[in-house]
Amino acid sequence: MGLLSYIVRKTGIYLLTFFVAVTLNWAIPRLMPGDPIGVLLSRFATLPESSEVVYSYFMRSFGFDRPLWEQYLDFWRALFNGDLGVSIYMYPQKVEDIVLQALPYDLVLIVPAVVVSWIIGNWLGAVAATSRRLDNLLMPLFYFLTSSPYFWMAIVLAWLLTVVFPLFPSSGAYSPGMVPSLSTAFIIDFIKHWTLPFLSLLLVMLGGWAIGMRNLIIYELESNYSRYMEALGAGRRLILSYAFRNAMLPQITGLALQIGLAVAGAITTEIVFSYPGLGFLMLQAIQNQDYFLMQGAFLVIVVMVLVANFVIDLIYAAIDPRIRSAYAGEA
């Protein structure tokens, strides 16, 4: 019962966020100075068979002198039909198809990078908190890692591991001659291409987790329960293990905040390695002024982040007994 009302509340907030994101997506082109929509529509006029495109809900939501509220409703109607418009750059492909093809590449990069960096970073942070010498040695490194722009880390890795030591391929998700399949040769080729973008994300995120964990543990070690255990004569390892468990919870909340930044990092990292995810797609869209493609990618990114946040909320509820009891108390 308690858990259910927690889930309902969280779902409500995320639905509202989705509503706002869609509304922004609709409103931004209309709020901007100049006449972006006119430019947009005129680009379609030059394409073949444009008359068919113009009659979709999505195109209708872009004007023809109809009242704004009708345009807005058509925008939503198009969305519920899975219609995100047509790409100019990859005409006549539909935006929803292009975007959904790119999405898996983001997932295979971001999810492992977040999970692995979280585990290693927390562990390293805890290690740093245990001794002053390690602390002084590791912390500057962590600060440097977390300060690096993701794509700069990608540039450094690309330089080191594709030019100085040519161990990995420098672009794409797999070699040009390969056909995606589950064969060993393809999987090895895929992993080789995946390693460098993955490492770029991993290294930058790792620094942040380590700093967070180190600070949280030092904070916990000064708290009353740690002092009490110390007074009882508990060993340092035992006290640390309690501090570590308590420091985990804020780090899980931190995951939710980190997801958005990880996505931003992936967008720019993919560009360095021409990795065909949403980030690389967005660059194509920007360079070709393909606004529908760009906005479609934005929407998919928002949905991806919302789903990730929801999953993190569920994990948090499963781990932190206070959530369950708080909502049970309310009900």
Binding site: I28, I155, V156, V163, Y219, G260, M294
Partner: protein, 288 residues
């Protein structure tokens, strides 16, 4: 009340001057700032002035070499640093001010105002800022440094609002606020005259983080080709370097030093922030 604030500020400054992290961070930041201010004096070239030599490695004449377009990378970097610092300062300032205003209003007024402002904050906290910035910037035809700072400031305030609200909640029932309220001061007066001064050091910390965040967002936008349509910035150098395969062509001096400066700049800001945090939260100081 004046007395109270002044003595706390003095105590804070006393500890700040002794904190090793603050000192180290400030030294690094000052060095980078100096590079931005006097760096251009050490090169005869402008950032977009052809030198006639393409793709030369670092030498005495070109400390960071030249790129494919014969531009001097050192000149580009020091001039680019200026605009990146300016965007960081303006964007960070806008985000900090918006965040503080929303956080103060939500925390102090409570009730429906709080509910509404926090709902807004939580929504914009979840929407990925860079993705939103891309969509906004792509529709702006002529982008300058001011526009870039403005859109960054307008989109990156949410975490500040939430943090300032928490601070306000912890201050609003303190005695000095109650006294001010009993003496008939208006809500606005109490927020600006009583609560805000007590958050001063905290606001500085927030600004430092927002400053760094704005630089990172600007660099990301520039890298995607959505930066200022004219001029030079650190992000633009990196965008050009990647676009023209600097790494594959072995021109590391074109792509690595500009990014290294960003990383060092951000690291200096984070270190100052951590040091200040240690001063304000004695529990974070290592005792051992």
């Amino acid at each position: 009340m004046e007395q109270h604030t002044v003595s706390r500020t003095k105590e804070f400054l006393h500890h700040i001057r002794r904190n090793r992290k603050v000192k180290a961070g400030l030294a690094l930041f000052a060095a980078i700032l100096a590079l931005a201010i006097v760096g251009p004096l050490f090169t005869p070239y402008g950032p977009l002035e052809p030198t006639g030599e393409a793709g030369r490695p670092p030498s005495l004449e070109h400390p960071l070499g030249t790129n494919t377009f014969t531009y001097d990378v050192y000149a580009q970097t020091v001039y680019g640093l200026r605009s990146s610092l300016l965007i960081g300062f303006l964007g960070g300032l806008i985000a900090t001010v918006i965040g503080i205003l929303i956080g103060l209003a939500a925390g102090y007024m409570g009730g429906l105002v709080d509910e509404f402002l926090m709902m807004l904050t939580n929504i914009f906290l979840v929407i990925p800022t860079l993705a939103l910035l891309i969509v906004i910037a792509a529709y702006i035809e002529y982008r300058g440094i001011m526009i870039e700072s403005l859109i960054i400031g307008l989109t990156s305030w949410p975490w500040t609002a939430r943090a300032v609200r928490a601070q306000t909640l912890s201050l609003k029932n303190r005695e000095f606020v109650l006294v001010a309220r009993m003496s008939g001061a208006s809500g606005l007066r109490i927020m600006v005259g009583e609560i805000l001064p007590n958050m001063f050091s905290y606001a500085i910390m927030v600004f430092i983080l927002q400053f760094g965040g704005a630089i990172l967002y600007a660099v990301g936008l520039d890298f995607l080709g959505l930066g200022p349509t004219k001029g030079i910035s650190l992000g633009l150098i990196l965008q050009q370097a990647v676009l023209w395969n600097a790494i594959q062509l072995g021109m590391w001096w074109w792509a690595i030093p500009p990014g290294l400066i960003i990383a060092l700049l951000l690291a200096s800001l984070y270190t100052i922030n951590t040091g200040m945090d240690e001063v304000l939260n004695p529990r974070l100081r290592r005792l051992e």
